[in-house]
């Protein structure tokens, strides 16, 4: 039987996998890496950039607050005055738990995977609010380019420290690029502002030992797949059914693989049952096939919002592997 890592590579290279990849099993996520303050359930925090996040009890995630009292950047032309990157944590002491975890991973079996969030597009709207960020792309493109360059420089500074400490084989990178039905910006605007940024970022990782770039965007983004290929993404995780995943696999499978086709909204909710999970998993596996495709929920990271869903999804995928391989 192939190792999880080998099976993943056979799947994405169009070789001979011996089973479906089970969601995130190939990624051993090093979540101990220092990433700055992140909001948890029931909390309201201000992070190192000065952005205030809140996660009310009962919600599925946190949100930045953008009222007048909390918005960090109210006028893009003044970004240099208000946007100050936090210091990158470099101390060996802070990185020790992540290093210990990474060193304990059998790299024949799994990819040592660093998690990076938020992404560059998300940072612009965390700082400014979504409407201001999107309008600024039109109204003040030079300042937006400069802000994006600043954000990229910060991520590269963090990336260098991270690579030096844990030598990741893979990066799992978060940046939502659309709603369920459309990308937030046009492919042309995306090409102008965000492709150069990510070519630098993903290029750095690939030049420094990273074999696999897995990008999360639980959205529609079919119109951005050529750009994803151009920036060096190997796997698009979070691909929702609105993208017509079988068509994407047919068109782009040899250049990029797709992880998802099971929308979290239909399996990961209070009234979920194993039968519901099995039904959507079977549909995804049968319509997407065995190559260039990893079945799994569109939600990011290796857990569900409701207890038991992720594990049930794994069981359903095992069943499809027995049936289809």
């Amino acid at each position: 039987m192939l190792t999880k890592r080998q099976n993943l590579m056979e799947t994405i290279k169009g070789g001979k996998p011996d089973r479906f990849v089970k969601q995130y099993e190939f990624m051993n996520l090093i979540l101990e890496a220092p990433m700055g303050a992140m909001v948890g359930p029931g909390q309201t925090i201000k992070n190192g950039w000065g952005i205030t996040f809140t996660w009310p009890e009962g919600q599925l995630g946190g949100f930045p607050i953008h009222d007048a009292a909390h918005k960090v950047l109210k006028d893009i032309t003044e970004w240099r005055k208000y946007v100050k990157a936090p210091a990158v944590e470099t101390s060996d002491e802070a990185w020790a738990p992540a290093v210990a975890h990474a060193n304990a991973v059998d790299r024949n079996e799994e990819f040592v995977t660093a998690f990076v969030a938020p992404g560059i597009f998300e940072m612009t709207h965390h700082l400014m609010g979504m409407e201001d960020a999107l309008m600024a792309l039109y109204e003040e493109p030079e300042d937006m380019h400069d802000l994006i360059d600043y954000l990229v420089d910060y991520e590269l500074a963090y990336a260098k420290v991270m690579v030096d400490h844990i030598h990741p084989d893979a990066i799992f990178h978060h940046d939502d690029w659309g709603s369920q039905r459309s990308s937030f910006v046009s492919p042309e605007m995306f090409e102008e502002f965000f492709v150069p940024a990510y070519k630098k970022i993903y290029g750095f990782y690939k030049d420094n030992g990273v074999e696999l770039i897995v990008h999360h965007s639980d959205s529609y983004a079919a119109n951005l797949v050529p750009a994803m290929i151009e920036m060096g993404i190997d796997i698009w995780q979070g691909v929702m059914t609105t993208n017509n995943v079988p068509e994407l696999i047919k068109k782009y499978g040899k250049q990029i693989s797709f992880m998802g086709d099971i929308d979290s909204g239909v399996i990961d909710f209070a009234g979920w049952t194993p039968e519901i999970v099995a039904e959507y998993t079977e549909k995804a596996c049968k319509q997407c096939g065995k190559l260039y495709f990893i079945p799994g929920a569109s939600h990011g990271l290796n857990f569900g919002c409701y207890p038991g869903v992720y594990e049930s999804n794994d069981e359903a995928i095992d069943k499809m592997s027995k049936e289809m391989f």
């Binding site: 039109y138 937030f184 239909v266």
Partner: protein, 210 residues
């Protein structure tokens, strides 16, 4: 190109710095404020259609709406009446338990551009607050409930049921958001459903006129 056609073209192109001057020129050329306003509303209708078909995206919609808003600022002193909209008032909010606002904000923008006065209740809005807003505002024609999460669909059901049971009349309820379907909208007793911001404005006008 007539002055009004220039205004329309620049609203569609999102040229918010040019539109105020062009609106003034259109007034100076003898066009009525209402005709100019109707032209800008028609531009936003085109924007809504293009957004629904995927020809344009959120930034284009936002800058067009901003351009129209700058044009309306020039027209306001010239428009007859008390400034309230002919089409009525739309109360809008994201239902209780849901903090997503961008979809609701886009719908709000498009419905306002179509000619309604908007009362935006924000996010995480309990049913009682929708009902209070209907009572406190005049000429309410549309109540719009938004929800992005499957887990907040019960709250949408509860909100629509509460509004329908309130005894208040004279308006229609529309619902929308990623997990919402026409079947769900009908099941919970909403009067209408809209797939996106573009079609929401069309639906609001249709329901308000019915």
């Amino acid at each position: 190109m007539s002055k009004i056609d220039e205004v329309k073209a620049k609203v569609e192109a999102g040229k918010s710095k040019l539109v105020p001057g062009l609106v003034q020129e259109a007034l100076d050329a003898g066009n009525t404020p209402q005709d100019i306003l109707d032209a800008m509303v028609a531009s936003m209708g085109v924007i809504g259609e293009k957004f629904s078909t995927g020809e344009i995206f959120v930034p284009e919609m936002l800058v067009a709406a901003k351009a129209m808003s700058k044009g309306v600022d020039v027209l306001k002193p010239h428009l007859a009446g008390d400034g309230s909209s002919k089409l009525g008032t739309c109360i809008i909010g994201t239902v209780e338990g849901d903090l997503h606002d961008i979809g609701k904000n886009l719908v709000s923008l498009m419905i306002e551009s179509a000619g309604f006065d908007i009362v935006d209740l924000g996010v995480d809005v309990p049913a009682e607050k929708f009902i209070e807003a209907i009572k406190e505002n005049t000429n309410v024609k549309i109540v719009a409930c938004s929800g992005l999460l499957t887990s907040t669909m019960p709250a949408m059901r509860k909100t629509v049921a509460a509004i329908n049971a309130s005894g208040l009349t004279g308006f229609k309820v529309i619902v929308g958001g990623a997990p919402v379907t026409p079947e769900f909208a009908a099941e919970i007793g909403a009067d209408g459903f809209a797939l996106d911001a573009g079609t929401a404005a069309v639906k609001a006008k249709e329901l308000a006129a019915a």
